[in-house]
Assembly symmetry: C2
Homo-oligomer: 403 residues x 2
């Protein structure tokens, strides 16, 4: 993904409830400052991008590098097999065929799902700023709801009665204040938060494909969400059955699309704490609901507060904290390789030297450039080759390691 | 009270449990840096001081000013009627007689209570640093316990089962770590904290005289505390029945003697929040135990955390926070009039002018000096006169107002 952006159908944000509670105009929508009008992909470009992200060893960060290096998905697709071979791929490199991409688009369409790029209307504006934002997001439901400011509410699946009640109350109050509640459609806190915000607008983020709802008994809840101008989003293709490792990956979309994440109840080492950690890494506000030290379901949230999360006992605690953030335009972060649009042609010596500097511990790409003495373009090209060969992992913050 | 201090029978503080929990030597005692050896009042000086603090309109702050102005309690007593008359006292000024003071000392003695000045061993070292510390404190029990580092645990009288359990657990753990638990002998949290720290040492702070235990059913608990090397303290004379207004006054002693105050459960506007406010004004650490937003007994503690109190889920949260404070010597604050040892003799014009600058809103003594153009000595003498006449109230922070 190069410098891309989405923008709201409305112009920025309406006056926001003040501390005194006098103004109660609702926040209307969010916009990304970089691009004022949403664009729309051509069908061909959408097919090419889908083929690229569904090809072997291409994740969101590799996708962004490829698009940046080659200028278009089409050009990147043409170079993929060569890059992978040079990176030392032992087996044949699989590129998603045009037929497969068309079949996925058709299957999505039958489910009422549109695959949107970050620069298109309907892609949650804040999510575009996350460095591993999905290059194409499967969106089902009401586009306008996805453009409004969101607060994530997450927590235990086996929540207490008090936790469920509080989650519902908070979701209702945030909904009345004009926020969209985003969550993971799980049992417990997620469910309570979605249910209480069906009327005001809520977004479910799925770990599997749009036709693989987990847990399946929440299909009714999802139906109610969609019927009431809500939405569901997923980066997975139709038919994808969610596995354990898909949930943490999904959680980055919950936090990334939101202004902040409220953790209502969470035991030590629970999935909600992963969402909180991701929110923190993404620069999102982290909120936590306190509980008795004797309640294991409050251990995680109390810890979050000790670590600096904002203590929440009512919706206003959240609203006051995000108000100043909403007043600032959404800025796209500069990408590490924004200055680097042409692929160089590394020599075998470069390749060997850069590879030898890598190991299982993540290192900064900037350090690799410094230590190798090679040009940034050469280093990034070698990294792309290794990545496509399935030998390199990209972490956040410009870190890479060998697999 | 002039520059007075108490010191520990032991020399300073033993090595303290580190963050890693390796060193578990107990904190042994506290000492005040200003004076290395505790002194002992003569009987005559003790009688004079008692007469002074028990005379009309003499509170701890007035006592300190008088002692500072006149150099001794005896000299101050001689000047009291004159000062009060010049301040415009309408009725006869009552000075506590020597007989009454001797009778109080005898009554205290029969109860096993010693009246101690801040510079004597047994006066809690940290309490000496509070600007309205009692000039004489009635102490019953084990002196050594009163010299050890203390943590206050306070909270609701009608506490929840979880609150009581947590208070007990916290008190036990702090006791095992070498801290004395100090509290108010009230029902609920106080009681639970005292009971769990009987074996390790606990101090009860009374709102009435030592023979007027409130609630009376806690006489047994007090007996157990005293039998196990604990102590009880009060600034009130024997026979003094505690009234509503004595409790907030008493609370300043709980916080003042401690390194920090842990509020376990507290509703909005509860007495424990007064103790927390006083702790904050005295520069003590404020700790609060979180609870569910749906539990009214956690409303006050959650609010304290929002305002910056340290969240506590285990004793270690307290121990880590006070460790750096214990490493610093206890410093006596400079008094507003430390540079001003001789009483001047104000003219009627000074008196009228300074009085006209005063009103029901508190003003800084420093501002009065500046605005009146009179010397600091003159201004402070006029204030003393007004105070003894019952026309002036002293607040903390060098503020005064007309009554």
């Amino acid at each position: 993904m190069t410098a891309t952006a989405a923008t709201s159908p409305t112009n920025g944000i309406a006056p926001f409830p003040t501390r005194s509670g006098c103004s109660i105009l609702l926040p209307q929508g969010e916009s990304v400052d970089a691009i004022k009008q949403p664009t729309r992909l051509t069908d061909a470009e959408r097919i090419d991008r889908l083929r690229l992200i569904r090809s072997d060893n291409v994740g969101p960060r590799t996708f962004a590098s490829l698009l940046n290096h080659f200028g278009s998905a089409k050009a990147a697709l043409a170079h993929l097999p060569d890059l992978a071979k040079r990176g030392g791929s032992s087996r044949a490199f699989r590129i998603c065929s045009e037929d497969d991409a068309r079949a996925e688009l058709a299957a999505a369409s039958r489910l009422g799902v549109t695959l949107l790029a970050p620069e298109e209307a309907g892609y949650p504006p804040r999510l575009t700023t996350v460095d591993d934002a999905p290059p194409l997001l499967g969106v089902r439901g009401t586009i306008e709801t996805l453009m409004r400011p969101m607060i994530a509410i997450v927590g235990s699946r086996n929540a207490s009665g008090a936790g469920l009640k509080f989650a519902g109350q908070l979701a209702r109050d945030l909904g009345e204040a004009g926020f969209v509640v985003i969550s993971g459609l799980a049992r417990g806190i997620d469910q309570a938060a979605h249910r209480a915000s069906v009327a005001s607008g809520t977004v479910a983020v799925l770990a599997g494909g749009h036709d693989r709802i987990y847990p399946s008994e929440h299909e009714d809840l999802l139906g109610a969400i969609l019927d009431a101008n809500g939405a569901a989003i997923s980066e997975m293709p139709p038919g994808h059955e969610p596995r354990a490792r898909d949930f943490p990956r999904r959680n980055r979309l919950i936090s990334g699309a939101a202004l902040g994440v409220v953790v209502v109840e969470a035991a030590h080492r629970s999935g909600s704490l992963i969402t909180a950690r991701m929110a923190n890494e993404q620069g999102r506000e982290v909120f936590a609901v306190p509980g008795s030290p004797l309640d294991p379901r409050a251990a995680g949230t109390n810890d979050l507060i000790k670590q600096g999360a904002t203590l929440v006992t009512e919706a206003n605690d959240v609203i006051q904290a995000v108000a100043p953030i909403m007043e600032r335009p959404i800025m796209l972060p500069l990408r590490e390789d924004d200055d680097d649009h042409l692929a160089g042609d590394p020599h075998a010596g470069d390749r060997a030297q850069i590879t030898s500097l890598l190991g299982p511990s993540p290192v900064l790409i900037d350090d690799l450039i410094r230590m190798s003495g090679a040009s940034p373009t050469i280093v990034r090209t070698v990294l792309l080759e290794l990545e496509l060969a399935g030998r390199l992992e990209r972490h956040g913050g410009g870190l890479v390691s060998l697999i």
